[in-house]
Subunit: 144 residues, 2 copies
DNA sequence: ATATATTCGGATAATATTGTCCGAAATAGA
DNA sequence: TCTATTTCGGACAATATTATCCGAATATAT
């Protein structure tokens, strides 16, 4: 469904959100450990997330990554997915056709439309505070 | 969503289904042209589909690929997707966790579950006769 | 039998994705 | 100011996916 980079990106963002909601800043090392991901590769993804204003990065000692309290409601899954994988997954044709639309549909156009729209709607309405809350409560997990 | 191989596989199967429903057998060359795919790569995918009893292959002059009339109702999209991409997309965790389930859910488990189940249900209930009919009627397209 | 048309299957190549390494830049604290 | 800690960014490496090539196997028709 999503690329590995995107999966790491979502997990990293959620871990940062969880920690930020407790007022804690977290380092690359801490993130990689928390989400069980390769550190250097995760660093690349975090750079991308930072450029897209999804997370905030602070250099230097006691630096790391955080998300402003006020952003936890605004940041939604769709922003992470779009930043890393693009919008093909919920906007593109299921069979990869360039010009597939209502007037020129591929054979699975209608069938896929509802699935794609559901996915897009879910991603667009789910904010990270909600997901971080489950982590904080110990009801959900980011590894194993 | 699906790999390119899988997209080619679905398109190839639908083209064969369309032709088979008209009693016509079709060659690799014809398929690659009809679905605008690289011929040699398409050949590999067709071998895989043949091994999985999704299409029937006939060697020699006037050979090619076909699907028995009686199979058009039985063959569903889920078989093609499973044969080529596996079941991770509709059975696996959205974040790639190995052991993500009701008792040990990832943060997006519930949200993804409905999307995944919708997708799986759609793939499991859509047979290729139905999709081939749209092609035959000229209502849907496999290229451009 | 022979020539021809076709799929099969193994080897190889090109490209994309995933992952690593390391020096540069920034910044906090001594 | 100096040192240590951290992210940044570019180059590189490994792996997976996509794509190509070509001889072998098979079957048809002459």
């Amino acid at each position: 469904m999503f690329s590995k980079a995107c999966q790491y990106g979502i997990k990293a963002t959620l871990h940062i959100a969880e920690q930020s909601s407790q007022g804690k800043r977290v380092s690359l090392k801490g993130i990689a450990k928390a989400i069980d991901s390769p550190e250097a590769f995760t660093a690349k993804i975090l750079q991308l997330l930072a450029k897209n204003n999804i997370v905030n990065s602070i250099k230097g000692p006691s630096g790391g990554f955080e998300i402003a309290e006020s952003d936890l409601d605004n940041i939604r899954l769709i922003q992470i997915v779009t930043a890393i994988d693009g919008d093909q997954i919920f906007n593109g044709c299921g069979l990869g056709l360039k010009k597939c639309d209502e007037n020129n549909p591929c054979p699975v156009h209608e069938k896929f439309k509802s699935v794609r729209d559901d996915l897009k709607n879910m991603l667009a309405t789910t904010n990270i505070r909600e997901l971080a809350a489950g982590l904080n409560a110990g009801n959900t997990y980011l590894r194993v």
